[in-house]
């Protein structure tokens, strides 16, 4: 970074000289406030104001005939800069600019700074400056969460975030606290948010607080960042998958506006690669795009308002030139698309020093379609979500929050599909399913109230949180009163113990409640969570260097899980299970190095009446992540990530039966999830470089996924009669390259 030392005006007025200096940081153009500037030979100094301007007023005679003057800037964190100026050149002439570079710091922090938010202690957080340079994540915030403890590794091409052994459908996805239908563009290629517009990503796991609900596994919450209102900013980026732009600007003194857009093109590469295939014609390459808009303003000192607009679109078309051999109902044209938008206005009002309220609404629509030559699934929804919260500090020992969390959906669904029977992770061929047709309109409402408290007794080290949540699920006609209490003990500034527990409920999936494809009499699945955590900080006083440790023991008890029955009932609440484990994270920073070690030891089991107990679909006994990064100097940084995960369990297919009517084979499943894929391990590398120019910054990165080119088995594809199988392997070594220019 450089200071932009800019000599604006030097005028002679009755031998009086006035020198104005504007001090800015090179690259970002950020004005530097309250910074001393020295003028020699006079040995005087002036401080910059809020705009970064410093003024010297002096007599020409004070220069004593000197031919040169010298401006010097020397402050902590920046390189010393000197500028020598010929006195004669100053007369009515603008002096050339001088750029002063900022000292390098530990800005390439690829470690995980999920500093525990002590007010929400089942939450881990990844901030933007962390996930954008994390090896193996290609700068994507939601791919980077896999580096957090307790997050199971999904299959590649999966768009799921699996929390502590729960099912992927047990995770809720939130954008600024409002539910969205998905957070990944299809295939898990990229999350729906342009990373530079994201402030942070929160993961809520076992024992999460009462302000959220509707999920028995956990929550993934993405938050957009505030609009920068100091001056106009913009960026453009391009990488292997997509390209995008972002622009933000102040509007008046108290408002700001941001727009960000992104478009993929990786599908065109795929289309080209498959163009000579004899049976497959990618008529429309897979493509995605997203758009983010934000406007914020402050009406008064007590009121702030913000509105976020967001849209996402995915589409794909291809043509089977002949029916798929293993499943002939799949033939002809195939089209898939998911689009949605949300408009989220938010208002915050401070009633007094002790009372604040927040209200936000989410308006939006979803369009999801899945079309083949003869079958279809079309879903259109209108969504209205509302969140409101009043915070009150009654006294220094007690503060409360009372809030509302509501989701209302109007949905039109048109479906003509074979019954998709899937059990133990094995799906029967679509061709063997009875064709079902449904055209329905529905309204669903999920309403929640929460009451959170923080109570500090005389011993201020203790905090008691007797929280509770009340939910009403209209589709299942149920009302729940769910306790969510917690206790925190801060032994000292370095050691904290925390305990939380609670009961959680989750609505059945819409297709599980559908009158034609599901069972309208289902009840909501339920879970009890217990979590005991310990945080220890060994960093030196007032230092960011040193180790930190965070450990959690978790246990979840699951009941009323929805399982397929294979009968006209379709589904029943006949499943149950548990997940138990310990997760730990050790972070260390020793400039220029930073390290992070994540380890989770867990066990996740399910039970069905006719199957007994078996491993859950994402039961991964060991999860290990090792991250290291180093600042190499000259704006180079290097990072590496090694991951190890126990292979996912799968259900073997022991035989099959020929279906004469549909000309396919129906698999016979062995013991559920009784076998495992080989263990997964992968090394990812990342190299970053920045070039700082006067008014802009250029960044480049090279992210090498699977640097050792190890082949690992993600799943099996079976022969038509299930007697033989072939491994579907994960991505080979994949270098990805990206460029970003910003001002």
């Amino acid at each position: 970074m450089f200071f932009w030392l800019f000599l604006v005006f030097f005028a002679h007025a009755n031998d009086r000289l006035s020198i104005e200096v504007l001090l800015s940081e090179k690259g970002t153009r950020a004005p530097l406030q309250n910074t001393p500037v020295f003028l020699l030979p006079l040995k005087v100094k002036a401080f910059t104001n809020e705009q970064g301007k410093a003024v010297f007023e002096l007599d020409a005679s004070e220069l004593n005939g000197a031919e040169y003057a010298q401006l010097i800037v020397q402050i902590a964190g920046y390189k010393r800069e000197e500028k020598t100026i010929l006195i004669e050149e100053l007369k009515g002439v603008k002096v050339a600019q001088i750029y002063v570079e900022r000292e390098e710091r530990g800005i390439y922090e690829t470690t995980i700074h999920d500093r525990l938010n002590k007010k929400e202690f089942s939450k881990k957080t990844l901030k933007r400056e962390e996930f954008t340079q994390m090896p193996g994540s290609v700068g994507d915030p939601l791919r980077a969460v896999q580096n957090l403890p307790g997050i199971n590794r999904p299959q590649q091409m999966s768009s799921s975030v699996v929390i502590q052994g729960s099912g992927p459908q047990d995770t809720q996805y939130l954008l600024n606290e409002h539910q969205v239908p998905l957070v990944f563009h299809f295939g898990g290629l990229s999350s729906i948010l342009i990373p530079e517009a994201v402030d942070r990503v929160d993961i809520f796991s076992a024992g999460y607080g009462a302000q959220y609900g509707f999920a028995t596994g956990g929550l993934v919450g993405a938050w957009t960042r505030p609009v920068r209102r100091d001056r106009a900013h913009g960026l453009a980026f391009v990488d292997v998958l997509n390209a995008g732009v972002l622009f933000e600007t102040p509007v008046g003194e108290k408002s700001g506006f941001m727009i960000a857009a992104r478009q993929s093109y990786i599908g065109e590469v795929l289309k080209f690669a498959l163009k000579d295939n004899s049976n497959f014609d990618l008529t429309v390459a897979p493509r995605y795009s997203d758009l983010t808009l934000a406007y914020e303003t402050e009406f008064s000192q007590k009121d702030s308002f913000r509105v976020l607009g967001f849209g996402s679109r995915d589409e794909l078309k291809f043509l089977f030139k002949e029916p798929l051999k293993a499943d002939p109902v799949l033939r002809g044209d195939f089209e898939s698309g998911t689009s949605f938008f949300r408009i989220i206005p938010e208002w915050k009002h401070r009633h007094s020093e002790r009372t604040q309220s927040e209200v936000s609404l989410g308006f939006g629509r979803d369009w999801i379609k899945f079309l083949t030559s003869e079958n279809y699934f079309r879903l259109q929804t209108h969504q209205l979500t509302a969140r409101a919260q009043v915070s009150r500090e009654w006294n220094p020992q007690w503060n409360s929050k009372f809030g509302l969390d509501h989701r209302f959906t109007w949905a039109h669904v048109d479906v003509r599909l074979p019954a998709l029977y899937r059990d133990g992770g094995v799906a029967n061929p679509l061709s063997a399913g009875t064709i079902r047709e449904s055209h329905a309109f529905s309204q669903t409402s999920y309403l929640g109230f929460f009451f959170k408290n923080e109570i500090h007794p005389e011993d201020a080290r203790w905090t008691f949180m007797p929280d509770v949540r009340v939910d009403r699920f209209a589709p299942t006609r149920e009302i729940f009163i769910d306790p969510r209490p917690g206790i925190r003990f801060e032994k000292n500034k370095r050691q904290t113990w925390r305990f939380s527990m609670g009961r959680y409920h989750q609505p059945p999936q819409p297709q599980e409640l559908n009158a034609t494809f599901g069972n309208p009499n289902l009840q909501a699945p339920q879970a009890w969570h217990w979590n005991l955590g310990w945080d220890q900080d060994w960093k030196k006083e007032n230092s960011v260097f040193g180790p930190e440790l965070s450990t959690d023991f978790f246990y979840k008890r699951l009941t009323k899980l929805v399982s397929a029955t294979g009968t006209t009932e379709n589904y029943a609440n006949s499943g149950r299970g548990y997940a138990v484990g310990i997760q730990t994270q050790l972070k260390c920073q020793w400039e220029p190095w930073s390290f992070s070690t994540i380890y989770t030891l867990s066990r996740s089991r399910r039970e069905l009446p006719h199957r007994g107990e078996f491993p859950a679909q994402y039961d991964q006994t060991h999860l290990l992540g090792l991250l290291a990064s180093v600042n190499l100097g000259s704006r180079w940084s290097f990072g590496a990530r090694f991951r190890y995960a126990t292979g996912n369990p799968y259900t073997p297919i022991v035989s099959s039966t020929f279906d004469n009517v549909h000309d396919v084979y129906i698999p016979e499943r062995g013991a559920f999830y009784s076998q495992r894929f080989p263990a997964f391990h992968q090394l990812d590398l990342r190299l970053d470089k920045k070039w700082i120019f006067n008014t802009w910054i250029l960044s480049a990165y090279l992210d090498i996924l699977n640097a050792t080119n190890r082949e690992h088995v993600e799943t099996w594809v079976y022969s038509y009669n299930y007697r033989e199988k072939q491994a579907v392997k994960g991505i080979p070594m994949l270098p990805t390259f990206g460029l970003k220019a910003e001002f």
Binding site: M157, S158, S159, L182, F186, G187, L274, N277, F280, L316, F320, E322, P323, L324, K325, A326, D327, P328, L330, R331, F334, S336, T338, I368, F370, F377, L379, A419, L420, Y421, R422, D423, A432, G433, T434, A564, G566, T567, T568, N570, S655, S656, T657, F658, D659, N660, V661, H662, D663, I666, E668, V717, Y718, S719, N721, R723, E724, K725, Q726, V728
Partner: protein
């Protein structure tokens, strides 16, 4: 929907890549290619004759044990296992042994008679439901040495008063240039599946599956009436068995017709 999409896309992509899995249309192992019913849709009390088309080219005429069982459908096309084991009302239809004849070891077996229970539809309340009907499942098991295969068919049972019951299509022959093809050895030829008039009933889409013991068809399945395919014969005559091609036409409602043809 996300899972369904990924399943189809992944399957397609893998299918398009290097696929080392056995080809469905290649005859060799012990298999049931089709089960013809003289009446794919029947009434309670009817006797339906079922003729399975069995192939065992690699078995070269070994003894094959078989067993046939029938029972009401518990929801096979909703996900229940296609078996009559454990079903109280299951009926043993037939059992015995067969030997497939040289040189092609592919035959349509002698029919087995299956009597539809007269009370099968008694649990349905309305005539409309009885006209929609229920399935009656017939399972076949074949065992030869360590090879054991299973197959089933579903006979749709509807009210006797329903007049427009489903009929079988009729696949008459596999021809090339208007005659039974004896092109072996030779170059690739177009092969026509010849259907009898009236094979495709209103609202039906016929689908014909093609099999060969040697050589290769360009497509596994082709839709429509009188479809065409391209056959490339082997470069030389195989030893130990004759070259056989099989065509099976389905109407996707239980109606089936098969043709077996030895190439000379």
């Amino acid at each position: 929907m996300n899972k369904l999409f990924l399943f189809v896309f992944a399957l397609s992509v893998v299918s398009c890549g290097k696929n080392e899995l056995p080809d469905y249309k290649k005859l060799g192992a012990l298999s049931v290619l089709a089960i013809e019913a003289d009446s794919p849709e029947a009434s309670p009390g009817d006797v339906v004759q079922l003729s399975p088309v069995v192939t065992d080219v690699a078995g070269a005429g070994r003894t094959i044990e078989y067993r046939v069982t029938a029972c009401p459908d518990r929801g096979v096309f909703l996900g229940s296992q296609p078996t009559c084991e454990g079903v109280a009302s299951a009926v043993s239809i037939a059992q015995g042994t067969i030997q497939l004849a040289a040189p092609i070891y592919t035959e349509k077996q002698a029919a087995v008679n299956v009597t539809i229970p007269a009370n099968l539809l008694d649990g349905l309340a309305t005539i409309a439901e009885k006209r929609i009907g229920l399935n009656y499942i017939v399972t076949f098991e074949y065992t030869a040495g360590s090879d054991r295969i299973k197959a089933f068919t579903a006979i749709l049972v509807t009210d006797a008063g329903k007049l427009d019951k489903n009929q079988n299509p009729t696949l008459q022959a596999l021809n090339t240039s208007g005659a039974l093809f004896n092109i072996f050895p030779g170059g690739s030829v177009q092969v026509d599946a010849v259907h009898a008039a009236g094979s495709q009933e209103s609202g039906e889409t016929l689908q014909t599956t093609w099999f060969s013991s040697d050589g290769v068809f360009s497509k596994t399945r082709v839709e429509g009436l009188n479809p065409q395919n391209t056959y490339t014969p082997p470069k030389s005559k195989p030893s130990g068995h004759g070259v056989v091609v099989v065509g099976v036409t389905r109407d996707n409602r239980g109606g089936i017709s098969a043709v077996i043809q030895e190439l000379l």
